[in-house]
Symmetry: C2
Amino acid sequence: MHTVEPIRWTPEGVVMLDQRRLPREVVYHTYTDYREVAKAIQDMVIRGAPAIGVAAAMGIAIGVERSSAETLDALRAEFGTICDTLARTRPTAVDLFWAIERFGRRFAELALAAEKNSAGARGVARLKALLVEEAKKVHQERQDADREIGRFGAELMPKSGRVMTQCNAGALATAGIGTALGVIRVAVETGHSIEVLVPETRPYLQGARLTAWELHQDHIPLTLITDNMVGHFLKTGGVGAVVVGADRIARNGDTANKIGTYGMAVLAREHNIPFYVAAPISTLDLSIGSGEEIPIEERSEEEVTHLAGMPISPEVRAAHPAFDVTPARFITAIVTERGVARPPFETSLRELSAHS
Amino acid sequence: MHTVEPIRWTPEGVVMLDQRRLPREVVYHTYTDYREVAKAIQDMVIRGAPAIGVAAAMGIAIGVERSSAETLDALRAEFGTICDTLARTRPTAVDLFWAIERFGRRFAELALAAEKNSAGARGVARLKALLVEEAKKVHQERQDADREIGRFGAELMPKSGRVMTQCNAGALATAGIGTALGVIRVAVETGHSIEVLVPETRPYLQGARLTAWELHQDHIPLTLITDNMVGHFLKTGGVGAVVVGADRIARNGDTANKIGTYGMAVLAREHNIPFYVAAPISTLDLSIGSGEEIPIEERSEEEVTHLAGMPISPEVRAAHPAFDVTPARFITAIVTERGVARPPFETSLRELSAHS
């Protein structure tokens, strides 16, 4: 099955598909400056927690690669600035911070080796090259993780019938085959006969624009609905399972994901429909005990009062929390690349995160 | 408090505010042909169950008034055609059928009197005039009913804090002060300090376009949200009550209303927030035992895949049920112009509908 690539490392720079212009236009941008990458993350050229992790990794790599620093100290200082800039882009997606931390550790490790060898300018050049390799490795790991998530998750999908998802947790959101859509893709590949119910996911319409587009390209049957049809279809639409992605998962299993996920989870439970979260281990934030500690990004009101630049309401106040938190008690299982975590998540998630 | 008039009887014809063009343009159309009125109902120039009832009444009146029939038999035949045409416009709103039945009874009564008096052409002219009076009476009764609903409902509203509504159950939907918004208006008039959370209500955006506009005009504080924020705000937003309108209420209290109402009701119960339905007695359909018998209008898929004429998704299948059914067990009370019905609704609604 062909899947689209939202981000790619090339000799010319970091190439990203501009997701804001899908499905009407397929436009790629090439970024050679880490500040441009940070702006692209903030402006949602690329979105989806795992893909943001890859973008952050590639942003650090391009920043380091294109740095004029020739000494280790100069590069270290610039590395710090790069990481700070990327960290200020989007607050909820933990994969962003996961990537930054991973690069921090890798940088420290490589810098130590370079100092030991007193390698000078050649050591700095080598360090830069190895950080680029690290970014490519992050991308490859994402792709592998999605495949594994898909494999574990597909077994939980109904053999036939409807599955509901939310927003876009597909290739565009992960730079692999997708988390939630990866589960659906592998299920379809392995013979399940599934139709996907796709809520449009206002205000950005990631469902209508991105998920519908990905599924349509892969010839997986889908029906597009508005967000307020979720309850009606969970009640009457023959839905066998819900599968969504995640932006951050707390130690106890509470999950932050695109606004609307919480309501969908409550409605799924009302109708005894299993509710699955599909996410890589990197989305786990073991530093926080519960969802109450997850910062929720507030985006601009204009994104609610306008659509494609046109006002859809009079000039009134609007709210725009981009995510909500689904308490663990509404989640049937969390599907990771290392296996399926079931309640109590405090235990199962700890176990999965420990063995690697 | 000033409230907007969505429909008005004038010597020139039936004047309607084109709600499809709000809030950007305030445009009125004058209809002199009942077929145009039927088309206006179908195309949603006017919408909202009680307002559709008024429009149907005025549509019949204009059809009869402008009829060239000079004998009772000719007028009776034309009356039948007029009613049939109006009945085929929107299937869910019971007020439409209520108005048609009411005029059927009134016509029969007046025709009988005319025959008794052998009044001939003068009798026919008089009958036409009396049916016009009946339409004006329907409009006046709506306005009175809204006031009473508002008075009963205001007492159920929190003294201060947030109230959530759905779609537009305002002046634009009823031709009075509104049902759900009538409750909010009277609450504000009587000193409650209320902010209204207004879901935009896709695909037609009645919340963003109409409810936000009405409240803004009346200087009632509001915050516009997308439909998928409903769960998040019922969980975290300090909402003291939900109040919505209704398109049809079954004998047992099951209520059909704008798509999304059911999900909102389930989420309100999850957070122990009272969920009120505000509707005139005419919205009661005592002929059906439960919500399962309410026909749900399926509108065009294009209304989901497009917004203001622009495609928002690739060319995929979409679903567009315009309404959903909220089972009575999620409803705290039903507020009518004759008082507040509480569970068991089978009994309380029967009692309210009996005394008049």
